[in-house]
C-alpha cells in the first residue's frame, strides 16, 4: 500500500496507518503511565521525607510541578502541530493540535488547583497574584479560547487553519505576556514567594518519576483523543454521504 519512498511524514498522514500504529503504542503509553504513577506516587507519598519548612504539604508539589511543566509543554506541542498543519497541510497535525488542547487545558487546570491547595498552607491564601500563578491563569484562558474557536467553526479544514493562526499568534505572544506579568508583579509586590533552595535529591526523584508518568499519560490521552476525533470525522462523513439517498431523495424501492 505504501511505497518504500514515502517518508515518515506522509506515511502517517494516512489515518488508517496512523490508527494501526497508535493501536500498538497507546497501550504501551497507558501501561507505562500507570506503572510510573504507581512507583512515583509511592516515592511521593511514602518513600520521601516531609520537607523541613513545609511539612507534609510539600507532597502536593509532586503533583503540581510536573503538571506546570506539562501545561507549557502542551502549548508548545500544540503550536508545533499547528505550524506543521498550517505549512504542510498535514491532516493529522490538525487533528493532533485539536486533540492536545483539552489535555493541555486539563494540565493547566490541575496546575492551578494543586497550586491553590499548596497556597493555603504555604502562603496562607487560596489564591495569590504571584507572577507565575497569573501567567498560568492566562495560559488557561488561552487554551479555552483556542478550544472555543475550534467549536465555533463547523468545517474541519477551515477550523484547523483558523485555529492554527490563533494558536501561533498566542504562542509568539506567550513570552511577551510572561514578561509583562513578571514586570507587573515586581511592581506590585517585591517579595517573591516562590524562591526556594536547591532541590533535594529525595524530592527530585518522585518529581521526575511523576513527570515521566505525566508525559506517558499525555501521549496515551493524545492518541485516544486523536482516534476519537478521526472516528468522529468518519462518522460525520458517512452521515453526510448517507443523507441524500436515505432522506432527501425519497425514491421508491426497485
Amino acid at each position: 500500500m505504501t511505497t518504500q519512498q514515502t517518508s515518515f511524514w506522509t506515511r502517517y498522514a494516512n489515518p488508517a496507518a496512523f490508527q494501526r500504529l497508535s493501536a500498538r503504542i497507546a497501550p504501551l503509553a497507558g501501561g507505562g503511565a500507570v506503572a510510573l504513577f504507581a512507583v512515583g506516587l509511592y516515592f511521593a507519598l511514602i518513600g520521601s521525607p516531609a520537607a523541613r519548612d513545609h511539612g507534609e504539604a510539600v507532597r502536593i508539589l509532586y503533583a503540581h510541578v510536573p503538571a506546570a511543566w506539562m501545561s507549557l509543554a502542551c502549548y508548545t506541542y500544540m503550536a508545533a502541530a499547528s505550524l506543521v498543519g498550517f505549512v504542510w497541510k498535514h491532516p493529522l497535525a490538525d487533528v493532533a493540535a485539536k486533540s492536545i488542547a483539552p489535555i493541555g487545558a486539563t494540565f493547566t487546570a490541575l496546575t492551578l488547583i494543586t497550586g491553590s491547595l499548596w497556597g493555603k498552607p504555604g502562603w496562607g491564601a487560596w489564591w495569590v497574584w504571584d507572577a507565575r500563578v497569573t501567567s498560568v491563569l492566562i495560559l488557561f484562558f488561552m487554551y479555552l479560547g483556542y478550544m472555543a474557536l475550534w467549536n465555533a467553526i463547523e468545517e474541519p479544514t477551515r477550523a484547523a487553519r483558523i485555529a492554527a493562526i490563533a494558536c501561533l499568534v498566542g504562542f509568539i505572544n506567550i513570552p511577551i505576556i510572561k514578561f509583562s506579568v513578571d514586570w507587573w508583579n515586581t511592581l506590585h509586590q517585591p517579595a517573591s514567594f516562590t524562591k526556594q533552595g536547591a532541590v533535594d535529591g529525595a524530592i527530585a526523584l518522585p518529581t521526575w518519576l511523576l513527570f515521566s508518568a505525566y508525559v506517558l499519560a499525555f501521549f496515551w490521552m493524545l492518541l485516544v483523543n486523536m482516534n476519537a476525533e478521526l472516528a468522529e470525522r468518519r462518522a460525520a462523513r458517512l452521515e453526510a454521504g448517507a443523507r441524500p439517498t436515505s432522506t432527501l431523495v425519497a425514491e421508491p424501492a426497485e
Partner: protein, 220 residues
C-alpha cells in the same frame, strides 16, 4: 495605495455616520467608568489611584464592542470579497481596516478621556493620555486579528473577547504602568511607556500577517 486610503476613509465615514457606533462607543466608555465608580465608592483619593486602571479597562471593553464592524459587516454584504480581490497585498488591507477602527472607535474614547479623568480626580493627565495614545493602537491591531479570525461566525463577538483577551494583558499592564509612572514624574522615555510602544509596534507587524492569513482561509 489610493485604494487603501479609500477603504480607510470609507470605514471612518461609516463609523461616524448615524448608527455607525463611534458615539455609542464613547457613551459605553462613560457608562463603564460610572459603574466602576459605583463599585469603588466616591472618595477622591481612592478614585485617583484606580482612575488609570478604570479608564484603561473601559477603553479596552469599548474597543472590543466595535470589532464586528471591522470585517463582519463587509463580509455579510459581500463587499469584503470584492475588497480582497481588488487588493494586491491583503496585509495592507488589514492594516487600513485596523487603523480605521482605531480612528472610528478608539479615538472617540481618547477624546472624552480627559473629561472622565478629570471626574476621577486624575492630576497627571498627560501621562494617562500618552499611555492611551501609545497603547491603544495595539488594541485595534490585536482586535483586527480576532475580527479576521471570526468574521464568518455567528456570535463572533463573544468569541473574539475570549480569544484575544489574553493577548491584551501586556497592553493593560504596561499602559496602566506607564500612567502610574508618569504620575510619579517619570519622563516619556520611562520603561513602561517604551515597552507599551514596543507592544504596539510588535502588533503592527503581527496583526497584518495573521489577519491576512485568517481572511484568506475564511474566504476559501
Amino acid at each position: 495605495m489610493s485604494a487603501l486610503v479609500s477603504v480607510f476613509s470609507r470605514d471612518v465615514e461609516l463609523a461616524f455616520r448615524a448608527g455607525g457606533g463611534a458615539a455609542q462607543g464613547a457613551v459605553f466608555f462613560g457608562l463603564v467608568t460610572v459603574m466602576f465608580v459605583f463599585g469603588t465608592g466616591p472618595e477622591p483619593g481612592a478614585l485617583a489611584r484606580v482612575a488609570a486602571p478604570i479608564l484603561w479597562t473601559g477603553a479596552l471593553l469599548a474597543s472590543l464592542l466595535s470589532l464586528d464592524r471591522v470585517f463582519q459587516a463587509d463580509f455579510e454584504d459581500g463587499s469584503l470579497d470584492i475588497l480582497v480581490q481588488r487588493t494586491e497585498t491583503l496585509e495592507f488591507l488589514v492594516l487600513a481596516k485596523a487603523f480605521a477602527h482605531w480612528v472610528g472607535a478608539v479615538l472617540p474614547l481618547l477624546v472624552i478621556t480627559p473629561v472622565l479623568a478629570a471626574m476621577l480626580n486624575v492630576e497627571a493627565m498627560w501621562p494617562l493620555l500618552a499611555s492611551l495614545l501609545v497603547g491603544s493602537p495595539a488594541l485595534s491591531l490585536i482586535g483586527a486579528i480576532g475580527a479576521a479570525l471570526t468574521f464568518p461566525l455567528r456570535r463572533a463577538n463573544v468569541l473574539v473577547t475570549i480569544l484575544i483577551g489574553p493577548l491584551f494583558a501586556p497592553v493593560v499592564i504596561f499602559g496602566t504602568g506607564a500612567a502610574a509612572d508618569g504620575a510619579l514624574g517619570a519622563g516619556f522615555g520611562a520603561p513602561p511607556l517604551m515597552l507599551l510602544a514596543a507592544v504596539s509596534l510588535f502588533s503592527l507587524i503581527v496583526a497584518p500577517l495573521a489577519g491576512a492569513a485568517a481572511i484568506r482561509f475564511n474566504l476559501q
